[in-house]
């Protein structure tokens, strides 16, 4: 056989040889392999455990935040977020185009609830006094599917489609204005014509969200009542959308921007995802997630050092063996590849095992939720969201793939130095090496 024909078709054989050697060596040094693998399994387990609980927590924060706020995605005029003026309400055409787009077959599957609201700042007054409030004109049926407020009723009931002068009021406001179920009070706000206009309302329900600021300021009234009172007919200030999963936000924003390309291009309307519209929630999630990454990063750096040490010891122990491989015709790169493949194989197997163990254990023990109420009490709020003390883990395929990729990456990086050592063996010296 001549050299030319060898080099042209022996490569697959060499890959096979390298794989064979790597697998056999892992089996040969079973204790060492298991020790290294166990570090990766533990790392994978903690990663999945921590991230599934973290993702579950974040999803709950987001869910709470968007349902108390303006949804995973909101369509509104760019100025409205700061001005809160009726002048900055959506045109009927934009509202109609938005609602039609959300009813299309492609988008409807991702949508859980849609609520078109008219939100204005006003002043509520009773015989006792007056308080600044946020009046939200809603379609009672749509809003019941959108918001959590209707579930937080402590007295009375939520709005119904036939209601006209009804108001659903937070407990804090009820106490401030000394109201009770059936009490009448007046809200005043600037109407569409720019005049201050008042509306008499009757309390049909009282809610307690757990967020003092919401309980002291939010009043839900029927959209029709708001339209008659403010002269806005059926106009709204925003269309909010709740999605099946917060990760769908990006594509939904893009789809709506496409559907509203004209108004978006002319800056008449803006489509915002929750990270933009609920900045406090986004900041809380981002900071918490960053903290998780840091802790996991430190854990994996420690594990990586352990792997480097173990693999390097294995390389040094087999110094002569690598010399023999070189003498027999393996190139430096191929010799290093033996070590790299060993490391990759080990981390791939242990990574899978760790991810699987993390998933099964977390799901088995905490599938119904991990109850932190002993530590944080029954109710806690921060960054404008109500925190549920029971955290339900959330397993995302993308997150599991991310964890597995990180483990594989760590394994690869940790094997590079030992692989380099194996690749740069001085063959003649290695033959003298006596272990």
């Amino acid at each position: 056989m001549d050299g030319a024909s060898i080099s042209s078709w022996s490569q697959p054989f060499r890959v096979g040889v390298i794989l064979k050697l790597a697998f056999r060596n892992l089996r040969r040094q079973l204790r060492r392999s298991l020790l290294t693998a166990s570090a990766m399994v533990v790392g994978g387990f903690f990663c999945v455990f921590s991230y599934s609980l973290g993702d579950g927590t974040h999803e709950q924060w987001i869910e709470s935040g968007v349902r108390m706020g303006s949804g995973h995605v909101t369509v509104e005029r760019p100025e409205f977020r700061l001005s809160r003026k009726l002048d900055d309400r959506l045109s009927p055409e934009v509202r109609q185009a938005t609602e039609q787009a959300l009813q299309s077959r492609e988008l409807a599957a991702q949508v859980v609830a849609v609520s078109s609201r008219l939100t204005i700042s006003g002043l509520a007054s009773s015989a006792t006094g007056a308080r600044p409030v946020q009046v939200v004109g809603v379609d009672p049926v749509a809003e019941a599917g959108f918001s959590m407020v209707d579930d937080q009723v402590i007295e009375g009931r939520y709005l119904e489609p036939d209601d006209r002068l009804a108001a659903y009021v937070g407990l804090g406001l009820v106490e401030s204005l000394d109201l009770r179920l059936g009490s009448r009070f007046v809200v005043q706000a600037q109407d569409a014509a720019g005049d201050i206009s008042g509306q008499l309302l009757r309390v049909v329900g009282i809610f307690r969200s757990g967020m003092p600021e919401a309980d002291q300021s939010i009043i839900h009234i029927p959209l029709l009542t708001a339209g008659d009172w403010l002269g806005t007919d059926r106009d709204v200030t925003n269309v909010g959308v709740v999605l099946a999963d917060s990760t769908l936000v990006g594509s939904m924003v893009a789809d709506l921007e496409r559907a509203l390309s004209g108004p978006v291009a002319s800056n008449e309307v803006r489509v915002m995802g929750w990270p933009e519209s609920e900045r406090a929630v986004w900041a809380a999630v981002t900071i918490d997630e960053f903290g998780n990454h840091v802790v996991m990063g430190i854990l994996f750096i420690i594990i990586a050092f352990g792997i480097v040490n173990t693999v390097l010891m294995s390389v040094l122990h087999r110094y002569r063996e690598f010399g023999v491989l070189r003498a027999l015709g393996l190139t430096p790169r191929q010799t290093g590849a033996v070590v790299l493949v060993e490391g990759l194989t080990l981390t791939a197997i242990s990574g899978c095992a760790g991810v699987l163990l993390g998933m099964v254990t977390t799901w088995y023990f905490f599938g119904d939720g991990l109850d932190f109420s002993v530590l944080v009490g029954e109710e806690m709020t921060f960054s404008g969201v109500v925190i549920d003390p029971v955290i339900v883990p959330l397993f995302r395929v993308s997150r599991l793939a991310q964890v597995f990729t990180v483990i594989l990456g760590i394994g690869t990086i940790a094997s590079i130095y030992p692989a380099r050592r194996a690749a740069t063996v001085d063959t003649a010296e290695a033959m003298k090496f006596d272990r």
Binding site: I6, F13, L21, V324, A327, L328, G329, T331, T427, A428
Partner: protein, 233 residues
């Protein structure tokens, strides 16, 4: 093996100087040597005479400080690591003092390893190795790992590994040093047979009197230089 008809190996004015803690040690000093195909040559000499270093230079395991080394007509002094690896695979078989079989492979897998790297198909590999196993008394030990073989058996497997892929030459560094006299004698018989019957070129580095006696050409080295070069009956 290539179709080159010249010497299996030749060196011209080869020097090897090692730097050890700011001190230069000359291991091989101006050695010029040609070894023809089919020779059964021993490089003999006391420890430190440079015979192993010369063997390593011929095998491309280390590079000369000066001079030229040609293996099967190919100048190897300036070859890249990649090309040296290919040369070793194609032209050179090695037998080491400490056997150096790969512990994770069976005797048969060890013996066919260079052929596997060359991409020779399984049927041909197995045929060649089994033939050599029968010839060298290793028949029946194919599936044993090195740890389950005696020193003599391991060294026989190492010799089969070295010759199985038909290299231009086989370099053996103190192949009998770890063997008892019976095993040593048996190994020499085996290599002598392979040399005679198959025309395999053997070059030994040795200080074993037995090996020197059995070799047909004896190159004695002292202080890194060739002291004598005799052809024996």
């Amino acid at each position: 093996m290539t179709n080159y008809d010249g010497p299996a190996v030749s060196t011209t004015g080869v020097w090897k100087v090692f730097e050890q803690e700011a001190e230069e040690v000359t291991a091989v000093r101006d050695v010029s040597l040609a070894i023809e195909r089919g020779e059964f040559t021993a490089l003999a000499g006391p420890s430190g005479s440079g015979k192993t270093t010369l063997l390593n230079l011929i095998g491309g395991l280390t590079r000369p400080t000066r001079g030229q080394v040609q293996v099967a007509g190919r100048e190897i002094s300036e070859m890249s690591n990649q090309d040296l690896a290919r040369l070793r695979l194609e032209e050179v078989g090695f037998v080491f003092q400490a056997y150096n079989l790969l512990p994770v492979l069976t005797a048969l897998e060890n013996a066919e390893f260079p052929m596997l790297l060359k991409g020779i198909d399984e049927e041909e590999r197995q045929t060649r190795v089994r033939e050599l196993f029968v010839r060298t008394g290793l028949d029946g030990l194919e599936d044993r790992r090195p740890g389950k073989l005696s020193g003599g058996q391991q060294q026989r497997v190492a010799v089969v590994r070295a010759v199985a892929s038909n290299p231009a030459l086989v370099l053996a560094d103190e192949p009998t040093a770890n063997l008892d006299s019976a095993s040593s004698e048996s190994l020499l018989d085996m290599m002598s047979d392979l040399n005679r019957d198959l025309g395999v070129t053997f070059v030994f580095a040795t200080h074993d009197g037995h090996v020197m006696e059995r070799s047909r050409r004896l190159v004695r080295m002292v202080d890194g230089q060739i002291d004598s070069d005799e052809t024996q009956a």
